[in-house]
Amino acid sequence: MSTITQDSPAAHDDHHDDHHHGAPKGIMRWILTTNHKDIGTLYLWFSFIMFLTGGAMAMVIRAELFQPGLQLVEPNFFNQMTTVHGLVMVFGAVMPAFTGLANWLIPMMIGAPDMALPRMNNWSFWILPFAFAILLSSLFMEGGGPNFGWTFYAPLSTTYSPDSTALFVFSVHIMGISSIMGAINVVVTIVNMRAPGMTWMKLPLFVWTWLITAFLLIAVMPVLAGTVTMVLTDKYFGTSFFDAAGGGDPVMFQHIFWFFGHPEVYIMILPSFGIISAIVPAFSRKRLFGYSSMVYATASIAILSFLVWAHHMFTTGMPVFAELFFMYCTMLIAVPTGVKVFNWVATMWRGSISFETPMLFAIAFIILFTIGGFSGLMLAITPVDFQYHDTYFVVAHFHYVLVTGAIFSIMAAAYHWLPKWTGNMYDERLGKIHFWCSTISVNVLFFPMHFLGLAGMPRRIPDYAIQFADVNQIVSIGGFAFGLSQLIFLAVVLKCIKGGEKASAKPWDGAEGLEWTIPSPAPYHSFSTPPEVK
C-alpha cells in the first residue's frame, strides 16, 4: 500500500529543541510532554482509572439493588452514585479513551510526525485530572455531590440541587474545554498533516470517523457549556432560564440538553465504527467491504444526529407532528447504521477469519451493538416509548450501545494496537479469558434489564417492588462478575508492557495502514520525514 522512508530518529535530533532520541526520563517527561504517543498513553491510563472509578460506583448501585428495600446506602447517596457513575463513564472513561486512541493512532495512520498542535495537546490532557478531581471531591462536601442524574434536568439541578452544584458546573466546563481543544487538534492534524498522496478517500476509517466526531464535538460541547452556565446562573444568580415562576421553562432545559446529548451519544460511537472497520478486515484477511459507503454513512449519521434530540422527550407533551417528526428521523438513523453493520458482515463473508482477542471483541461488538440498535428502534416508536421511557429498558438500551458498543471497541483497539505501542505481544490466553468473562457477564448484567424495564421497573430508584427481586439479583451478579473481569484486562496490559514475545512491525498479517510499516514498539518520533503514499 505504501512505501516508507523511515530514517533512524537519531538522524535529525537537531531539528528542534524538543526532539530527542527517545523519551526524557522522570515525572517531568509526562507533565511537560508534547509527544503524541506520550499524551495518548496518558489519556488511555486516565481513562482506565476513570473506568475503574465509575465501575466502583456501579458496584455500589448493584449492591444496593441486589435486594429490594434500602440496605446499604441512603437514597440521596444512591442518586449521587448513579449521577457520578454516568458522568465519569461518559466524560472520564469513553471520551478520553477515544482521544487517547486518536493521539496514538492518527499521526501514525496519516504519516504525520505528531499532532499539529502539540502544546495545546499537553494542556487539553492535563486539565482533565483537575476537572475530575473537582467533580469527585464534591461527593465529600456537606450536602453531597451532584444527585440529579447525568442529564441534570432542571429543576432538579437548579431548585433542588446540593450546594456543591457549582463544582459540578465548573468541572463540566473544564471537560468541555478539554474536548474542544482535543477536537480542534484532530481536525487541524487531519486536514493539514497528511503525508503526500494520502488523499481523502485513502484515509483509514478510524481517521475519517474521528474527523467527523471532532466536528460534532466542536458543534455541541459549547452548547453543553452554555447549558451548565444557565444552570449556574439560575441556581446562584437569580436568572430564570428554566424557572417557570420567573418566566422560564423547565422543558426548554431538556431541548437544549438533548440538542447536545444526542450528538454526544454519536461522539461516543463513531470512533468505534472506525476501530471495527480496521480490525474486521485485518482478521478476515480481506479488504473492507464498501469503504466509501462507510464514509458517507458516517457523515449522514452525524448530520441526522442533530435532528432527533426530542426522542428523549416523547413524554413531555409535544404536539403530535413533533412526535412524528422525531420518530421518523430517529428511525432514519438506523439506515446508515445498518449499512455499516452489513458492510462488516460482508467483509467477514468468505474471509479467512482467525479469532484473536481483538477480532473476538470486534465480532461481539457487531452482534451486541446491533442488539442495542434494535432496542433503540423500539424506543423510537413514540407510543411504545410512553411505556418504556425512564424504565430499565432504556438502561439496557444504552448500556448495550455504550458498554458492549463503545467500551468493547476500545478494548478491541487496545488489544489490536498493544503490540505496536509496547513492542510486545499480549498474552493471548489471558486476553481470551478476559473476552469470554466480559462477554458472558455483560450479558448476564444487561440483558435481563430489558425484561425489568418491560415489566415496569423505573430507573434511578434505590428500591423496587418485590416481583423484580430475582431478576435484579441475577443482574447484580453479572455486574460484579463484569467488574472483576476488567481486572484481567489490567493484568494483560501490565504483563504486555513488562515483556512478552517480541512483536514484529506488523504482527497481524491482514492488517493494513501506515502504522504497521514502522517498527514495534513505534519509535518515539515516527514519520519525521513524511512517507510517500501510493
Binding site: A116, L117, I180, A183, I184, V187, V188, V191, N192, M193, I218, A219, V220, M221, P222, V223, L224, A225, G226, T227, M230, G238, T239, S240, F241, A244, A245, G246, G247, G248, D249, V251, M252, H255, I256, F259, G317, M318, P319, A322
Partner: protein
C-alpha cells in the same frame, strides 16, 4: 513545519475556534428561539402574558366548547388556591368571567405568581385573556384571602378538533426572590 503550514494551521484554528464560540452563543440563542417558535407555532400551551383586547365578535352560538380550570400549588407555597368553577361550557367569541379563590394560610405576608398553561398545547393560541391575575404578582397578608378574576374568550377560529380546553395554573411562592414585575420584563434573562 514550514511557514506555509503554520499559516494554514492558524487559519483553520481560527475557523474552528470561531465555530466553537459561535455554538456557545447558539446555545443561548436557543432560549429566545424556543419562545418565539413556541409562540408562533402555538405548541407549548403557553398563553400570552399580557392582556388581549376584546374586539366584539359574533358569538358562535352553534358551537360550545368545554373549558376546564385547574390549580396547582408549589410545595413551598402556603396558600389555598382553587377555581370557583371547575368546568363550564362557553360559546366561541363569548366574553366570560370567572374567579379563582386564594387564601394565605401562613402567618406571613406572601408574594405569589401564577403561571398558566393550556392543554392541548395547540389550543393555547385560541385562548385569549383580557384580564388575568397571572399578569401580575399577587400579594396576600397573613391569613388574608382574595378573589382573583379571570376574563377570557375562546377564539371562534378554534379548530373543530378541539372541543375541550383545560387551563391550568401553577402558583409559585416568590416572596424571597425579590424581583418585581419579572413576568412583564420577560423574566430576568
Amino acid at each position: 513545519m514550514g511557514a506555509h503550514q503554520a499559516d494554514s494551521n492558524r487559519k483553520l484554528i481560527g475557523w474552528l475556534v470561531a465555530g466553537a464560540i459561535g455554538m456557545f452563543g447558539f446555545g443561548f440563542a436557543l432560549v429566545p428561539l424556543y419562545d418565539v417558535l413556541c409562540e408562533q407555532l402555538g405548541i407549548n400551551g403557553k398563553t400570552q402574558s399580557t392582556a388581549a383586547v376584546y374586539k366584539p365578535l359574533t358569538v358562535d352560538t352553534s358551537r360550545t366548547v368545554t373549558v376546564e380550570f385547574m390549580s396547582h400549588i408549589q410545595t413551598d407555597m402556603p396558600w389555598q388556591f382553587v377555581p370557583e368553577v371547575k368546568r363550564m361550557e362557553v360559546h366561541p367569541g363569548e366574553l366570560v368571567r370567572t374567579n379563582f379563590n386564594a387564601k394565605n394560610l401562613s402567618l406571613a405576608q406572601t408574594l405569589g405568581q401564577a403561571i398558566p398553561s393550556v392543554s392541548p398545547g395547540q389550543g393555547a393560541a385560541y385562548f385569549h385573556k383580557t384580564e388575568c391575575f397571572c399578569f401580575n404578582q399577587q400579594l396576600l397578608e397573613a391569613n388574608a384571602d382574595a378573589q382573583l378574576p379571570l376574563i377570557f374568550y375562546v377564539d371562534p377560529d378554534l379548530p373543530e378538533s378541539i372541543s375541550t380546553l383545560t387551563l391550568s395554573y401553577t402558583l409559585y411562592n416568590i416572596t424571597d426572590r425579590g424581583y418585581v414585575g419579572a413576568i412583564e420584563q420577560g423574566a430576568a434573562k
